[in-house]
């Protein structure tokens, strides 16, 4: 076997993810072709649907917000060497916390107090839902992947019970809470922009995207510029070295998972305070799982995650428009793309690497050819 040199950093960070996405799109293109739709026509409809008007851009950004939250959530856990598949449940329970805070206080508190309190409640509830699997892993030795999966189902069961039996608005036929008072609503993007004199079409985009940007900066500072972030990443790379460096792995597991869960909980802020303005069922709608794809594609770095989240947001919005234009294509095409991206940039990430190494070795072969010649001279 030929000894392979590792890929240069630029190929690892830029080219490899692009190859992974290309493979995912190629596969879904073939699937669309099988269905009997021209994939290029579908792609152009998708692009127009995602960024063709200020309204569609607004919706793209609204979806992007969710993907940033769940992508960051998965990434923080990844850096600690933990695989948090529980983003779905943490988002659900985070939304519950946010909604409960608003239902309790929205009639008494003004918006400047109510909104931070609700955001805090979302983070705390999301973190608490992640803290239990973290505690079980750190102190009781149960595997975090399995427990977070189980906690997704537990969250879903709990929410159905609460919505049907406890939180349902009196007289309502569907399981949803009463509408939040105005102090519990987040300003939508078109209102915020109108206040500074910019007119855009109304959409679901709201100011929680600013919270998402803030979280990106916060995660970046935390992971790469604080001692805790350093300890967390050390644990992910080499737990023994972390212990040698004085890190308490149990506490660090708790910290990583609580931050992860809190970030996932912010999906509730965007969905409930920004859009639904009441507690509803099933609002996490797969964002927690998609966060795995976002984190994998964004190489667990906030910049990469923003880019990946933008792509996923555009796909989500464009896919909805595409399904509207071509009835034989459903919105689930986007779900297939998400799955394929997880497959290619996660499970099969090692597959294209030798191809790239081979390609690069072809490009650099004239130079590497010189080396043995020089050696021959010297000997």
């Amino acid at each position: 076997m030929i000894a392979r040199r590792p890929l240069p950093a630029w190929a690892e960070i830029v080219v490899l993810p692009l190859v992974n996405i290309a493979l995912a799109f190629l596969t879904v293109g073939i699937i669309v072709r099988i269905i009997g739709v021209d994939p290029f026509h579908a792609l152009s409809l998708l692009v127009v649907g995602a960024v063709g008007s200020s309204e569609s851009i607004g919706y793209t950004l609204y979806y992007t917000t969710n993907f940033i939250f769940t992508g960051l959530a998965v990434a923080v856990a990844f850096h600690a060497g933990l695989f948090n598949i529980g983003g779905e449940g943490q988002a659900y329970i985070g939304g519950l916390g946010c909604g409960l805070a608003i239902l309790a206080f929205d009639r008494y508190l003004p918006a400047p107090l109510m909104i931070p309190l609700a955001i805090l409640a979302a983070a705390l509830f999301g973190a608490a839902w992640a803290a239990v699997p973290a505690w079980l892993q750190a102190w009781r030795g149960s595997h975090i992947v399995i427990t977070t999966i189980m906690f997704n189902f537990l969250a879903a069961a709990l929410m159905v019970y609460l919505m049907v039996n406890v939180l349902i608005a009196p007289g309502s036929m569907t399981p949803q809470s009463r509408t939040f008072a105005s102090s519990g609503k987040l300003m939508s993007m078109h209102e915020a922009l109108a206040a500074i004199g910019i007119t855009v079409a109304p959409s679901a985009a709201n100011v929680s995207i600013l919270l998402a940007v803030l979280c990106c900066v916060g995660v970046w500072v935390f992971l790469w510029h604080t001692p805790w972030g350093y300890a967390l990443r050390t644990m992910g790379h080499n737990p023994e070295a972390a212990v040698y460096g004085g890190t308490n792995l149990r506490h660090m597991t708790m910290l990583a998972m609580c931050i992860s869960g809190g970030l996932a909980g912010f999906v509730g802020v965007n969905e409930l305070m920004g859009v639904h303005q009441r507690i509803v069922l099933d609002f996490p709608a797969g964002y927690g799982f998609a966060g795995i794809a976002v984190a994998l594609m964004g190489r667990s770095h906030p910049v990469g995650i923003v880019l990946a989240a933008l792509l996923f947001g555009a796909l989500q919005q464009g896919g909805a428009e595409l399904a509207f234009e071509i009835p034989t294509i459903t919105r689930e095409t986007v779900v297939v793309i998400q799955g394929l991206i997880i497959l290619f940039s996660g499970a099969l990430v090692n597959m294209p690497r030798p191809w790239l190494q081979w390609l690069l070795s072809l490009l650099s072969s004239p130079r590497s050819g010189e080396v043995p010649a020089k050696r021959a001279e010297g000997s």
Partner: protein, 306 residues
Amino acid sequence: MDDLLSFAFLMLAATLRVATPLVLCAMGGLFSEKSGIIDVGLEGKMLMAAFFAAAISAVTGSAWLGVAAAIVAAEVMALLHGFACITHRGNQVVSGVAINIIAAGLTVVWGTAWFNRGGQTPPLVGDQRLLPLLLPNAGDNILVYAALLSVPLTWWIIERTRFGLRLRAVGEMPLAVDTAGISVPWLRYRAVLLCGLFAGLAGAYLSIAQNAGFSRDMTAGQGFIALAAIIFGKWRPFPAFGACLIFGLLDAIAIRLQGVKVPGVGEVPVQLIQALPYLLTVFLLAGFIGRAIAPRAAGVPYQKEH
């Protein structure tokens, strides 16, 4: 007395009906996990199989072709899992999650394009379904018996054959198996393919035996309950079968208790009973009820030394 007997019979039949896909799936998952390949993608394999069983059965009119299609569909997903995890040494959990999401999307995409019913297949009638064999109204189709048979079969293969011995070894210490001159990848591929076979049967049961057609996301977490049953059974066939029966019974009880007031307790929330399999598994994993120890090499890709 007669009432009690017939009630017990009804509950037993209901339990078996619900437990059948769990048992098949759990036995399949056991092969994979015993060989050191974690299978979070049972759900996706089962869903894919359920779709192709119903689709092919609806198009050809033969339930048996439906079963064959289900097995092929699940095996394709199993091979994909093997290709990612064994050949390319990818993360097994990531691969499983990918398979679940791809299956959830693809079944609806294909179903809509194919039948134009919002992801559902046409309702199946007559020979398009697997029908009960011996007992009236018990739903005892051939796959129920297959599930019952699969448990001793799995036990026998894993505990009493040379292949099973090697399978257990490769899940505990692949280096030892490799040193003995046995191919680790080929062993693991066979385990993954066996897993696909059983998951395929489980999927076929859902769409052409228990129900009369495929509907989107019809597995509804049963693949994960099967995974929980494997853990609950501590990676052994008969205890895992027992766990499937308990989980099946819980489900049968949940359906019975819907809206019923239990004396002294009041109305038991159905969601609590439905959440019990997950809750019990969490408790077990935490070591509160015994200890569940996974095969030691589970989740670790095997890198052959050069």
